[in-house]
Symmetry: D2
């Protein structure tokens, strides 16, 4: 760490913010340095890498808006949250397009003048559906693909193709509920909190590295419909939080875990 | 409901507080009425029952301290929370005794002048261990048995014997972790919140009706040791909250769910 | 209470939900009964009033969408939250119009096809500005006027005119900060949480009955700009929560306090 | 920063954890480095200071338990929380003594075998009372003095004497309430959350740098007595959190603000 910042200082870069973390279990070292300066950045990555053991992962990035594509199905709340924040400059992102297996959200995308692509799933082969998705996505070559309540399970091949660049939001219950209509189940079980988890998508469904989580308290008087509303409220906030962290390059993935420098 | 409060009014009881709830799914009706008055309460239960369909469950109770027995193992935090609140009149309970399969917490019970019974599990038959527990418990005929981090799984027979009168606290993770040392697993998985659930104990392990739940936010910088501390902090608060609700007769169990009038 | 529900039962109304509360300090009694039924409701209010002491306040209302008008200035977040929820049927309200002393939010209203009226304050007399506001408002005769970050102080005369029908959201700090740019002050003071309060507007600035409050944790690393973002996030959720409660007629005002049956 | 860690590396110290922060407003730089190593630490402070501009503040400390003295009055909850955590090694502190202007908490201190000193305030001169307090405190030369609900206002002279080493906990309301019995006022005002703030004590009453804050939700059904219980619950957790941070030397004071490296 000492020698890394030395490289920056030697090149007359000005360090704005610096975070470090040593995972006490793996002894892996994580470091994020934010800096400014007019010097040539081209040799920087290589200079730093030379200081580090083989296998160290070094990235030098501009902090500028990333391009994102949003996949959604029928629920509006997460997509609307992204579109509003985007419209008012609250996300460091360019929302390039909305892609959906349904047409229901087309008017919402249109309100914010974002291209909407309909990639219906007609009950045929998943490969075909995912090929359609991919052809829309690849038009934009996005930095990030956001599953804003996209309700179809993606194949490991699809996940692999966009390796590590897909972010998902899903509701979280304590205890977890398998099967259909978890809000009806949560109501039946009388749970007292419901939550949401935003995570990177890996081949293991809902098992990727967690970016953000939060919960809200509920009680027995709330109907399944009201639980679902509470779920939407927490989902959209958690997704927005996760996106902000990712877009500002504050999230490091290590194995199945995130280190977040916020 | 109308006719029930009519019985109370007719007998010149003074209604202090009244809660009602109709479960929109099961159409079951729940009602809790707190009242005072000098009239004879003996006929009350029968008078109310006569107004209701067969199978309705009616209880008329004095709101006075309940007797409780606490089971613990080695961790002090939940037991200490109960003992402190008990010592300062913050729980509507008489803590009769602490029973443990270890001796480690004996000094803590002694500090608060509460009898401590050691019921060791020596690797023999579970039936024998549970018989020892039961013989201590039955000495006190407690209203409630509190598992304040009692770390042995109780047999369905034992749970049945004290049907519905056992309350447990356990940590809750999103996602859930099976196996040993969940805090190490939570650390390895990089979870962002950890929680606690207090529930009634049923034959289905950790699956009984939920009384209280809460979470606290954590992050990657917290070591497994610090996560465990955060877990203790939330567990003791959630257990205290659940106990307060139960002791004040605010918790109704319906199937595998609670209705809580707080 | 007994006799009130008796009136409903006698008229063959079906009680769906019933809440009661006796303020232990003032001994005032509050009751909210939700019911359905085809019988004539016209005489209901009078029948109930006859049962009650003089001065009791009785209202019989249809639970149907209320009409609202939103006042805003330059900040988009609360207005956008209302428009999105409105567009997707998540608020029991008809948003009639947006009125602003600036033009900045006109495009946002337009995106959702809601009329936008510009009532500029040109540095002249407050009376004239408020007369312009009132003339726009009165066109819609709204049930509720929502101050969604309307940044001008309203005169007691204006507040009086719409007595009890104005709802405001404002940020809340611990400690409170007077003067300009509270987020810069909160940053300078190193506060650890920031919050928001939604309340009814009374002649006493920011002193009306509280409907909803919440906070989010922050820390020293968050810049004033990030604190402001956190503030926006919590403000819009608290306002949406307050609106939901008010629109469903769950909020009773008693003196300078609310009783909320949720 | 680069040069500082260079000093450590040159002396063969092993850096465990490193935090840095540049206040974007004041441009002040804060750094906390945790390290181990057998080398002589004596010259370290001087070596680092030589690298820094005049006026830089450098401290080299052992991370070992600090000695603390607790001042309390009649309320038990914060004192009990400290004593329990201390008894079970959850605080990096040696609790040396409890000092109180009342005798009520003597039995609690005794339960945990901590010396208790009674320094009554008999209505005489504040100077005399504070001299008595100081004579007890100075017996222990504590690193930190904890006001665990000590209910007398300390003079600026007293605060000055223990400059920067006094930590206080107090309840926090939104809005703030002046005068007696804030819980009764909070009830009368119908607030929806109550909180607690732990801070360093400065001559300005309750205005010192904030270490930790949190809130809990409440509602109109909770009596003033129940609000006070909720207040106790949150106060003890916030104080314990603040103590943990301070005892682990994670809190830096800068003007009237804290920078916390947790």
């Amino acid at each position: 760490m000492h020698s890394i910042t030395g490289v920056l200082a030697g090149d007359r870069f000005n360090i704005i913010r610096n975070h470090e973390f040593v995972d006490p279990v793996s002894s892996r070292f994580f470091m994020r340095t934010e800096f400014t300066g007019d010097a040539d950045r081209t040799p920087l990555c290589e200079s730093v890498r030379r200081l580090l053991p083989d296998g160290a992962h070094v990235r030098v990035l501009e902090l500028e808006p990333r391009s994102i594509v949003v996949l959604a199905t029928k629920e509006h709340h997460c997509l609307a949250e992204i579109l509003i924040r985007h419209a008012y400059g609250e996300l460091a992102a360019n929302v390039q397009a909305v892609i959906s297996n349904h047409e229901l959200l087309a008017p919402l995308a249109r309100r914010f003048e974002i291209p909407f692509h309909h990639a219906p799933y007609d009950g045929g082969r998943r490969e075909d559906h995912e090929a359609a998705l991919a052809s829309y996505i690849d038009r934009y070559a996005p930095d990030w693909i956001i599953l804003a309540k996209y309700m179809r399970i993606l194949s490991p091949q699809f996940v692999e193709r966009y390796g590590g660049r897909i972010i998902n939001i899903h509701h979280s219950f304590l205890p977890a509920f398998a099967g259909a209509d978890p809000y009806a189940q949560a109501f039946a079980r009388g749970v007292k909190i419901i939550g949401a988890t935003a995570h990177f998508v890996t081949a293991e469904l809902d098992g990727g590295p967690i970016i953000a989580q939060s919960v809200i308290p509920i009680d027995h008087t709330q109907s399944p419909r009201e639980l679902a509303q509470a779920g939407r409220d927490i989902e959209k906030l958690v997704l927005a939080r996760a996106l902000t962290l990712v877009l500002e390059e504050r999230v490091f993935v290590a194995g199945n875990k995130t280190v977040i420098f916020d």
